[in-house]
Symmetry: C2
DNA sequence: ATATTTTTTAAACACTTGTTTAATAAGTCT
DNA sequence: AGACTTATTAAACAAGTGTTTAAAAAATAT
């Protein structure tokens, strides 16, 4: 716990933690105030409203999340290795912030297109030339011809869902946290192998 | 819209619809009352509380959902064809109730093990002998050796996530509802091919 | 028809919600 | 030092929450 933060920082830190785990409707301004060691008036003093605080936080989280992707896209590897590292990094990132997939799906789903345009991550990804790289690899016959939406869906499905389903699987199979985390590492291998095999049939 | 329902039925119908799309915290007793053409007192008259109404509904939904799985498990096909049909049925079911994956993940995650035990679906699935069938297929070398948790995760990840991510993908790629639904059918083919190839390498 | 139970209604309850107010404290500047 | 801005606090606000009450209406039984 960092204790030497400004009041604004303490509020944002607590709010981030709480919003990610409980969502916008799952918590209250007072909970954020208490958890940050402040009070409700201060929350609105620095952020005007619960909604504006939330929008600010969701932007930060999405930005930070996509940065880890962009790093891989810009790197100097072959496409197949980029894919491997991408999956690796995804599991690494999500192990650290397991609630983020749920957060993204639930809360980003409520926002409309204008919100995504403001974040301006589309152009940043465009600049990495990853799409061109995929296109040429598909033209080569090196990579399976599959559209970008499905490619993104395959990757996200297999990386994000296992973290989203954790509470459910734990309850169904009577597993402990540690046990499930352990299993996720095994699952990562399956996912990597399956996706690479499918996307690069002539590897 | 069925109009010739009993009062209790009208409440349950409206509550099911609303709970599935907005979750427990995302709606109010008054919304359920209005939407069902009744009033708040009647909701509590028939269901005692919002919480008990919710538990009753979530049980029904999970039961109905797992029934479609059990039907496939009990059928008379080869394991590989069961897998194909399973994916087919999953996409079919989820096309009809696209909000259910999110509902299950979000709301079932809050419940503890005792709740799942009450539903008693584990034994019902056990009775289909599907697990034994998988075990022998793996012993045969017909199927890849992979544990049941990962098998379940692979299937659910690739079937459920595309429906959960619909609002996000729509916003990112500026797609319309119809266009995304169309794409889901293409994606289903990818998912089927990928999973079958991976799980049955010597097909 | 009368009595009794079940269903429906409108109003109220106690509590929580996000937000604002007005007063006080702390900090900054000349 | 005092004047002025910024930060913090406790209290209040109006609106919304789940739930309950008590009375009326409808249905059922005697």
């Amino acid at each position: 716990m960092k204790r030497d933060l400004t009041t604004e920082g303490k509020i944002k830190e607590a709010a981030t933690r709480i919003f990610i785990t409980k969502g916008f409707n799952g918590c209250t301004t007072r909970e954020i105030a208490n958890e940050s060691g402040t009070n409700v008036a201060l929350v609105n003093y620095y952020f005007k409203s619960k909604g504006q605080l939330f929008d600010q936080i969701i932007s930060s989280v999405v930005k930070e999340f996509t940065l880890s992707l962009i790093d891989v896209f810009k790197s100097n590897m072959s496409l197949i290795n980029k894919m491997r590292i991408l999956i690796e990094k995804e599991f690494e990132f999500l192990s650290k912030y397991p609630e983020i997939p749920n957060f993204i799906i639930n809360e980003l789903g409520k926002k409309d297109k204008s919100f995504f345009d403001c974040l301006d991550i589309a152009t940043e990804i465009q600049n990495t030339k990853i799409f061109e790289e995929v296109a040429t690899a598909q033209a080569n016959g090196e990579m399976r011809r599959i559209d970008l939406v499905s490619l993104m869906l395959l990757l996200m499905s297999n990386c994000h869902f296992p973290f989203m389903a954790k509470p459910m699987i734990k309850a169904i199979h009577s597993m402990e946290d540690e046990q499930y985390t352990e299993h996720l590492m095994i699952h990562k291998q399956y996912v990597t192998e399956m996706l690479i095999n499918y996307l690069f049939p002539n590897r």
